[in-house]
């Protein structure tokens, strides 16, 4: 699964959604194009806006050990669902400054960097429709509309 995850994160057309909750409990979803795997297999991405809702939510989740969710959708339709916990916010130092310079070069204008966030991956699951349906069938074979299991001949169709 880690290899699938790496491949998907390296797909330049992959859509990377991050869902967080803050102290009020309201869910908040954003896209994090900068998301990649670090050397330890954790998710790493930039938060560019210091006062953003995502930044505040990530702080909340780090302080209190709460999970965030990530959904990746590759250019070929493949998808992964990830659960993790924010474990680090880098706000200064060599890596921070290098990222800052890169972002300024790329976006210019008001572009800035608040923190480089690390989310420790706790769970990765396939998330494509076929995969989810097959998984449900395997775990809960009785759930679903029963006409799918009907012998068509016997009911005279």
């Amino acid at each position: 699964m880690k290899e699938k995850l790496r491949a998907l994160l390296e797909d330049p057309r992959c859509v990377k959604a991050l869902a967080t909750v803050g102290e009020a409990g309201a869910p908040h979803v954003v896209y994090k194009d900068s998301m990649r795997l670090d050397a330890d297999g954790n998710l790493e991405f930039y938060e560019m806006v210091e006062t953003s809702q995502t930044g505040r939510n990530l702080v909340h989740c780090l302080w209190y050990g709460k999970e965030v969710a990530v959904n990746l959708l590759g250019s070929g339709g493949e998808s992964l669902q990830i659960k993790g916990v924010p474990v680090r916010a880098v706000v200064c130092g060599d890596a921070f400054e290098a990222a800052y310079v890169k972002l300024r070069e790329r976006y210019g204008g008001d572009a800035d960097l608040s923190a480089i966030w690390t989310v420790e991956v706790r769970e990765v699951r396939g998330n494509g429709l076929a995969h989810r349906l097959a998984r449900q069938r395997e775990r809960f074979p009785l759930i679903g509309h029963i006409d799918r299991f009907v012998d068509r001949e016997r009911i005279g169709e």
């Binding site: 803050g22 102290e23 009020a24 309201a26 210091e50 006062t51 953003s52 809702q53 930044g55 505040r56 702080v59 909340h60 780090l62 302080w63 209190y64 474990v87 680090r88 916010a89 880098v90 706000v91 200064c92 130092g93 060599d94 921070f96 400054e97 990222a99 800052y100 310079v101 300024r104 960097l113 923190a115």
Partner: protein, 426 residues
Amino acid sequence: MAQGQSDWRAWEPGLAEVVKRHPKVSPFVILKTDVQRRGAVLTERARRAIRPEKDSTLYRGINLESNADIPWGFLLRDGTSVLCTIEAEDPDRFERTREPYTIDYVDGKHVLADEGKALEAITWIPTPAYTWKKTRKGTPMWQVLIARPQRMDINLYQTCDFWKDGGMGCRFCVAGATMKATKHDKAEIPDLDDIEDAVREALKQPGRYRSVFLCSGTILTGAEPQDDEVNLYIEMLQRVGKYFTERKVMSQIVATAFTEKQLRRLHDETMLCGYTADLEVLDEELFSWICPGKAKHIGYREWRERLYRAADIFGPGRVSSGVVSGVEMAQPHGFSDEDEALRVYLAEAENLARHGVSISQQIFHVEPGSVFFRQRTATLEYLTAFAEGLDALSRKYGLTCHCDDYLTCGNHPNTDMARAWQGGGR
């Protein structure tokens, strides 16, 4: 463990218990508070692993001179700064009521530990790029400019006229002692050309600074009292301000309480956006005992009035007052009951908040060289309850602290917590 330090854990709740009792306070901030209260000792192997070219160890300022290989602060993994006393292992080191935390070096990482148990991996404050450069006059730049993780610090008058006025300095303060110990190495006011050279160089490091901070001991002289101090700030702020395209750039001074006329000059003639004048103590009688110079020359009520005027001029959330949290328990005149102290302190903090002035909590820790070096510091429970109360007041009155938060300062447990809510939204 030094003698006499063995019993304190038995009579006050420890870190884990305080974290449990205060679910609304960040556990990282509570840990920071405890380290600031107790200090930390570097093991020998941790000390050998320090790389001064990367890990900031040099410091020349009002309250500290450090040219050894020991850092003066570090960061927790959430980005919280911990500025605290860090000492080398030494059986003869100054003994405090509670033994310090330990900083060890394990598996290639520096870790903060207590009672032999590793608690958190830490990183050091990065050494700024200007450190070993020299000014045009040949002064090493580290001697005239300090760099916190995201802030540059200029210390102007590195002593205080209250100490010169028959020892009327604040009783917890080490500015007088630091000046005495370093007077052969530094001038009372560093050369402003040197500072300007260092600031210009510092500004060439992208991503390193979010604010410019200035502080100075009190200067009582001038055409009107404190005018010389105000003029010094104005000159330095203008020298720095000319390097920016914007008129106002994130900046803060921690200064004496100035008159309305002086505050207007600072606001109108410089880049300054945040103003702090430390009451230190939120009780008039204790203020007069603990800060005799401030009481004699300005007085508690006038100091507070000037803060209110400052909030009118700079705007709410841009004016604060530092409190040396826990010094109010100093004996023989301080509170003996922490609940009573908390009640009185939060009531006065609310009074200030109503006028747009927030409180910046600094943790009282005893240092040799201060009058109070034998006092006992407050419990972690008390300090945490106060931080929680202050955070609630800031939320209630909408007092953000962008000029004095975890990045633009990093020394106040209560303002460290504002990053979880300031900026609006839900």
